[in-house]
Point group: C2
Chain length 379, copies 2
């Protein structure tokens, strides 16, 4: 139904395989919630023409927030993931949850004002954080770059800050919301997508069977701490057993650049040298791509995705990382797994994280339980 | 509902989050299909007590068939996966699809007779094959040990053999049906389970988010062709880049045994020597476990399952393979990923594959589309 195409109850029954009576009961409920709206009548072969209904994405709005180490992006979106308004502000995640959340929720309030929607219209709020999160509880778990957030009940803090104890607040790590956003926006027809973020850290978001998979306790996607298989053409000696993040992340590449006499510290520095055409930087990024590819070759054989998306500051710096990844994955994965595999750069822009968080919120808001409780509150 | 607990419509609405009217329409449909049956009435605070309904697993039956290289196991099950009758026959998969299917479908017919159910009562038939299968079409794809089955439309052959063109026939590879059966029977509360079969080949079945994940084109689960990370304590030199199946499968272990002067050829030979206490065989199996563990360490970090199940002829030969797997996985995976991870032997018996295939069929038969078309045919 989310495609917005107007349909009759009979057409919906046919598409879903549910009975006419089940569909009618459910459609009435969604009409009452405003999530479906009456659309033009269908052609009739005689008698009263059957009424059509269509998804009404502006029945409510959702707020998506993407927090990074030094910025926060806020987006107000409709229920179909259309961005109504967005803004990025500077902040320091290390200041801790209270001042950071006060700042971004203030921005969210201003954006809502700007589009003329009160907080009461917000069906849910999604939040992406730069560290491991136990999604079920919304609590960060030992987040390295934000120690002051460890085990904090983020949903409760958001509700308290807004004075909205019933607001649904969903928290996840930033790579998961990026994967969700990229999948929903560009690859909705692909059931199996693997999103890799290569920046200060290296992580993955996994969509399988059309659904974001978080693993037990939300621990899925840790690519950064995987041991990299040694390869005969690797510049490392085999005894040098390393984890992916130690050899292919932005800071790891910057350290290699410093060894070569180039003053680089951060992922952004690495990207600047690549963009300036520095041959050492370019070769190091390509080699990092090969190391990422060595791990992805295993992932591709085991999970069999149809799309691998390469994102993050380093991943989006150009074609060099991608070229290294492709080189190794196609050499080491099976034909059945790679025959129709696409390895592509992330398409999302700087709002991608906030959009992904908003889509996470919207999906939750459209689940039957959520709509039922929303109707119950209005009755 | 599949737990068999009798519930009122109001209780079902509360559990599912669906509205009372949606639930009533759906319950009426399932009562009509016989999948739900009236159960005792609930206690009432006055007036007519609300009627309870319960899942009726014997409304129909399903047939599960597990084909191996030299045997076929057939099980007739109820819709909840209870085995009503089962039998294993000898066959040679290399004889090709027609004689093999004739044999196992004949066995299925005898078993149905024995439990007094006609083929008309069979809601669906599930079939596990020892090779890659494109699940959507039911066609094997380049199956190494059954070349005569390549691209064969197995569902059409089954329907033709039985003269039942409308029978739903689902085909999958044997590891997927084993994973499905193990999950449904023993680990239903675990959303994320990774099943590894170590026999003549090495493959995996992946349950994530409670659902069997087949990947794009059904290619997921290929562990056997993953390159094994070299480890400093490995008996192999680092230049010896090898795929998992070449160093840890039954035939690979048998080849090492022959190098040590022991006459072993097959997985069964390896198991016999292990059971007889042969120290070389035991150490080789344990080392194979370490190599499997080196690959599983990556899988555990990336997928974050709560349960890893080790099955297959070699996997079930005792604790040796399991001990090697555990040793390496716990050393090389992150605490967040392994804190509550269980690595356990497969519990299913020799009927496990057929049971898994039957459960695959039952799940499909209980989907709304299937029940709708079944009602439509009876109307």
């Amino acid at each position: 139904m989310l495609d917005g195409v107007p349909r009759t109850r009979a057409e919906i029954a046919h598409l879903t395989g549910l009975s006419r009576s089940t569909v009618s009961a459910r459609v009435d409920e969604l009409l009452r919630a405003g999530v479906l709206a009456p659309a033009g009548a269908a052609a009739s072969s005689g008698g009263r023409p059957p009424a059509r209904v269509a998804f009404n994405p502006v029945a409510r709005v959702v707020v998506g927030i993407d927090l990074g180490a030094t910025h926060g992006t806020v987006a107000v979106c409709d229920l179909a993931g259309g961005v109504l308004s967005a803004e990025t502000i500077d902040l320091d995640i290390a200041d801790g949850p209270q001042p950071v959340l006060t700042a971004v929720l203030g921005t969210a309030g201003s954006l809502l004002d700007g589009v003329g929607r009160p907080w009461a219209d917000v069906a849910a709020l999604g939040l992406g954080l730069p560290g491991p999160v136990e999604h079920v509880t919304g609590r960060p778990v030992n987040p390295p770059i934000m120690p002051g957030w460890d085990r904090v009940d983020v949903p409760a803090l958001v509700q308290a800050e807004l004075g909205l104890p019933d607001l649904t607040v969903l928290v996840d790590n930033d790579v998961n919301v990026l994967a969700l956003g990229e999948h929903a926006t560009w690859w909705a027809e692909a059931d199996d997508l693997f999103y890799v973020k290569v920046s200060t850290g290296i992580g993955a978001g996994i969509v399988m069977g059309g659904t974001l998979q978080r693993g037990a306790r939300g621990s899925a996607g840790d690519l950064g701490h995987v041991r990299v298989p040694w390869a005969a053409d690797s510049p490392r000696p085999p005894e040098d057993e390393r984890e992916l993040e130690d050899i292919a992340s932005g800071p790891a590449i910057a350290a290699r650049l410093r060894e070569a006499g180039v003053d680089a510290r951060t992922s952004a520095d690495v990207v600047a040298f690549v963009r300036a055409g520095d041959r050492t930087a370019i070769e190091l990024v390509r080699q990092a791509g090969r190391e990422v590819g060595a791990v992805l070759a295993t992932v591709v054989n085991v999970l069999g995705p149809s799309v691998v998306v390469i994102g993050g500051t380093i991943g989006r710096a150009g074609e060099d990382l991608l070229a290294g990844v492709r080189e190794v994955v196609y050499r080491h994965s099976l034909p059945l797994a790679t025959e129709r595999l696409q390895i592509v750069p992330a398409r999302g822009d700087s709002n991608a994280g906030a959009l992904g968080a908003a889509i996470m919120a919207a999906r939750h808001a459209l689940a039957p339980e959520a709509i039922a409780s929303w109707l119950a509150r209005e009755d």
